[in-house]
Amino acid sequence: MKIIAAFEKTKEISYTSHLDVQRTLQRAFRRANLPLAFSKGFNPHPKLSFATALATGYTSAGEWIEVELDKELTPEEFTERVNAALPGGMRFVSAFVAEDGFPTLSKLLVAAKYVVTLYTDAPVTTEDLRAAVDAIMQSDEVIVEKKTKSGIRPANIRPEILEAEAISASDGTAIVAVVGTLNAAGGLRAETFARALFERLSVNGRFTAHRTALCFEGSDRLPRLR
């Protein structure tokens, strides 16, 4: 059977990498004594996959995974047992049993929602922030230097931005909610969006990102875009 579940990742361990999270989950599953299904071959490993990766340093309200089990287990039991075996900063918040033939999560993934917080080195007002967000949303092109496999090159990220809204700005802290495309081929990164905003605001600083949701299509059991 396949269980599909979402966990939150909080500030406490936001600076672990995707690989770290993978390892942590695998070990937590073993500690929870889950009836894991293993891949065949010389190095058997549990059949666990992620809808997508979360960048190191980000927090999230719901990262979705799917895991194959050899025996039946209720979603409640899964959540309870695994949560008792997870280190601080990670906790499953929902789970369900996928019916046979349920598609792979990464194929259903379409978008992600973020709250991006900018810590600016010069004061920014809510009006400034609103204007910057509007400027981005009204342009056809938002060019940002983007790291790709073939080096750093300018890229237009505007098509990846679905929605953006200025929430508030005060005391050098500016908060924006943004929805961006995300699927197996790629999508909006909170980091590039933050850079575009810094540029529009003509300030420098750093940012943190919290993924509030992953959005899927093709199933009612997963969070949808709208």
Partner: protein, 610 residues
Amino acid sequence: MDDRTLDLLLSRVEKPARYLGSEWNMERKEAYDFRFALCFPDVYEIGMSHLGSRILYRVLNDMEGVYCERCYAPWTDMEQALRELGEPLFTLETKSPLKDFDIVGFSLLYEMCYTNVLTMLDLSGIPFLASERGESYPLIVAGGPCTVNPEPIAEIVDAILLGDGEELEPELVECVRTAKREGISKVGLLERLAEIDGVYVPSFYRPVYENGRYVRTERLDPHAPEHPRRRVVRDLDTAKYIGRQLVPHMQIVHDRVAVEVMRGCTRGCRFCQAGYIYRPVRERRKETLLTETRDLVTCTGYDEVSLLSLSTGDYSELHELLPRIIDDMAEQKVSVSLPSLRIDSLLKDDLEKMQTVRKGGLTFAPEAGTQRMRDVINKNVTEEDLLRAVTDAFTAGWCGVKLYFMIGLPTETDEDIVGIAELARKVSNAFYRLPKYKRGSGFRVTVSVSTFVPKPWTAFQWCAQDRQEEIVRKQQLLKAALKGVRGAELHCHPSVLSVLEAVFSRGDRRLTGVLIDAYERGCRFDSWAEHFKPDAWAEAFERNGLTMDEYAHRTREIDEPLPWETVDALVKPAYLKREWARAQEARTTKDCRQGCNGCFGEHCEDYCRV
């Protein structure tokens, strides 16, 4: 430290998980009145792999009211970030500065980490020299194998813990805690500490130098013993153990469950400091090991177990233990590895058994290329032993083997160097001689060569280390001799690092000045080739009027006073002298399981139970 500052620091470094804490099984405490910072002067990945620290973390946290937290040397990017933000180095558990602790304890596993100790003190606003620290600073202590020659760091720490820490550390904590409650002065505390068996308080001793050489040590305080002794835990079955082993987020060097099967080694290899300073051998019962392995696997979720000791193949019940552990673990798809197999103790059945779970790398350590040289170092392994073992392994499906050697050993000639290549050739031939259907493909014989470093408390403690030019010549000779050996690959440990290691392992107190000078010239992480700054070290020696040559490349007179003999590592100098004499005649000494060789002298009955 507030969240925002922490976030800022973490966002600036390459591997933030090193500083995060919050690992599974991390100790969380609310009520405590005594704080111990367990410090490891190297990066997280290395420090977290250290078995001794895992044990101490548990032993200390099992004490009522004591909270033991961990701190590792910050990598250079974190050091820079801390300096730029003016923030102190912090512990992983509560993100507290080291200054807030009652005791700051360093584990000293190798000499090349000494500059990192200074980094950690510096980033904590703690003065380097014990004499410059008043009452308000934490007590700075150090333990670990390096302390068998504590002199190079003797002016930095307040107290040194010699030998096994399981019983000693709680005694230290109780003593400091009582003194704190009673409001005793630092000197008063040190006097009490000096009375604990296994504690060396360096400020109560003064080394005397004449004509630029160490001649004797004067004892300054009647509370201090003449020769503080190394502590030995007699029974490792009843001793407190790892308990809930920490499971890191990031990958560490030894990322698996570690089970110590025994401490000490009976072989008596003459170059091996560990072989001398962990005596006597103490085996743990196989029932203890089975239970511990099961418990550790359950509470960590690891899928790999390593059976640790200096020579696991010598564990007397290995052939009963190994199949049981392997069967036990196979059910849970957990693999079992033995990191230190003895060539002569390896059995084909064990190999095949290990193969059924997961095939790890296979490593043997002949250490020297000719029988004469192996007899000199008392590595009682023959060429036949090795060839039989590798043939067994190749037949069982292994198609790669790693061989460890040392060059620069006492009495070594070019013939011994060429002998290394010859041995590799025979191993290679052993593989290709097997019929094709019986052997794997992609054969590799990796010849890994390090430079011999003479260590205190060994039979070779009087020997000069080969000079660098000579080592390089020998490496080239070996490289040439390995030409045409099918599948051979040569790895040589850079010899410049070995010189500094030789200096500090047999150094005296005058090196403290050099150490601080080198640190101020930017020396950090000296065991990492990319950080090692030979020029800065050379300048530091010159500034202090000392030479590396004197420490590394000079043969000590057999009756010369040795600075490390202020402490008593239990192994008797007379025994070491006998061993050195035999080495020069290429005469071996039997494994002490086959009869006592008298290494503890008149104290044999007190310490040794073999």
